[in-house]
Each structure stands twice: as structure tokens, then as C-alpha cells.
């Protein structure tokens, strides 16, 4: 349940424009946006082409390990 408390003018926790602007940072926001939106949607192994490449790398590694 909410509680409402009365506070007399200028006695409460007021915030100045300067204090507010300390938290304002569009370049950080844009960076977060880019991180969220540009990350690959699917894991590599779910992409058929990348899956084939991964299998090929594993086979090659096994072959090389067998020869050594």
C-alpha cells in the first residue's frame, strides 16, 4: 500500500537541473541501443552455413589430432 507524506514547500528532496543533467547521456544511451539491437539474433550453430563451417573445423581438428 502506498503512503503519502506531506512536505512543506522547499523542505523536501528537491532536485536541481544540474543534478538531473549529471545522469543525462545520449551517447551512452545510443551505445546501449546499438548493443541491444545489433547483437546477432541467432546463435552461430543455428545458421546452416555457420553450422557447416563449425562441423568442418571440428572434422579438420579431429583429423589433425589423429595424424599426430
Amino acid at each position: 500500500m502506498k503512503k503519502y507524506k506531506l512536505h512543506k514547500e522547499n523542505s523536501g528532496q528537491q532536485i536541481s537541473d544540474e543534478e538531473m543533467m549529471k545522469y543525462k547521456d545520449f551517447s551512452r544511451l545510443k551505445h546501449q541501443y546499438d548493443t541491444v539491437t545489433k547483437r546477432p539474433k541467432k546463435p552461430l550453430y543455428k545458421n546452416p552455413y555457420m553450422f557447416f563451417v563449425l562441423v568442418l573445423i571440428i572434422l579438420l581438428a579431429l583429423l589433425l589430432a589423429g595424424e599426430l
Partner: protein, 175 residues
């Protein structure tokens, strides 16, 4: 126009960010009363707005309504997750305005009674009173938050005030 530009190029969201940063920060700070946390939640609101801007459709409400709706959801989510109680500071001038709306005269005792009555109201009603009298949102902005018409928003706020008056009188009768 700025919204369409931001939809096409996220870098142009900066104009909207500059314009709405302060009202959204204050909206959150009014509920949270913590500067750092308000800053974090404001960033979260704008990040969500940027990500979902493509889904935004202009339905005749101010763009700020859409941002206030995201902010309100973020604040509610914060209180649910942190299991913290919501303590809201009410300016004396806002309490006076509420009292005038329910035709009551200002006194310290009435002030206490009105805040107790407000806390007793169901959440959906006290939120409407907060938006109108503490956050100072216009009826059009409130309408946008609830996706209703401006006339409907006015009606809802006045019904909430009627309930507030009823609770206020009940409390006064008990004392």
C-alpha cells in the same frame, strides 16, 4: 516529424531525448525519491522507447503520454521487484489543490485526512489523482497513457475525486 526522423535514424532520437528528459526524470523521481535510481530508470525508459519507437503510432495523443506510460510501467516494476513500499511526498500546494477540488478548506488536520483517504483508494484511482494533481499531467496526456479520449480521462479523474471525497468524509466522521 521528429518521431518519423528518429524512426528512420536512431541517432536523431537525441532531439526527443533532449526535449523529454527532464519531465520523465521528474515523473520518476516523484515516485522513487532517489536521484541515482531515477537516473537509471530514466535511461531504461528512453532505451525502451528507442527500441520500440517503430511500433509507436500517433493516435492524436502527445508523444509524452507514451513515454509516461513506459515510465509508469518501469516504476511499478521496480516496486514489485524490490518489494519496497511506495512513499510519496505530496507538496502542500498540491494537497491544497486537491482539497479545493473536493470543496474543503485547508487545515493541517484536513491535509492529513486527505492523504490518508488517498492511500485508502484503490490503486487505479489514486494513480489518476497523482497524475493530475502531483505530476501535473494534462487530461490529454492522461488520456494518452490509458489510450482513452480526453473526455473519458476527465470523467475518470472526477470520479476518482468523488471517491476521494467520500473516503475523506468517512475518515472525518470517524474522528
Amino acid at each position: 516529424m521528429q518521431i518519423n526522423a528518429a524512426k528512420a535514424d536512431p541517432a536523431r532520437f537525441a532531439v526527443l531525448y533532449d526535449h523529454y528528459y527532464k519531465p520523465i526524470f521528474l515523473f520518476i523521481h516523484h515516485r522513487i525519491r532517489d536521484k541515482q535510481l531515477s537516473g537509471d530508470l530514466t535511461a531504461q525508459v528512453f532505451l525502451k522507447a528507442m527500441i520500440n519507437l517503430g511500433k509507436y503510432r500517433d493516435q492524436g495523443h502527445p508523444f509524452s503520454s507514451w513515454l509516461y506510460r513506459i515510465a509508469s510501467n518501469e516504476v511499478n516494476m521496480y516496486f514489485r521487484q524490490s518489494k519496497r513500499e511506495s512513499d510519496i511526498e505530496v507538496k502542500e500546494s498540491d494537497a491544497v489543490e486537491m482539497m479545493e477540488e473536493i470543496n474543503e478548506l485547508y487545515s493541517e488536520e484536513n491535509c492529513t485526512l486527505i492523504l490518508e483517504a488517498l492511500a485508502e483508494l484503490p490503486e487505479e484511482l489514486n494513480v489518476l489523482i497523482e497524475l493530475r494533481f502531483m505530476q501535473k499531467l494534462s487530461f490529454l496526456e492522461i488520456a494518452g497513457m490509458y489510450n482513452i479520449t480526453e473526455a473519458n480521462a476527465k470523467m475518470k479523474v472526477y470520479r476518482a475525486l468523488e471517491k476521494l471525497k467520500q473516503k475523506f468524509n468517512e475518515r472525518r466522521g470517524r474522528k
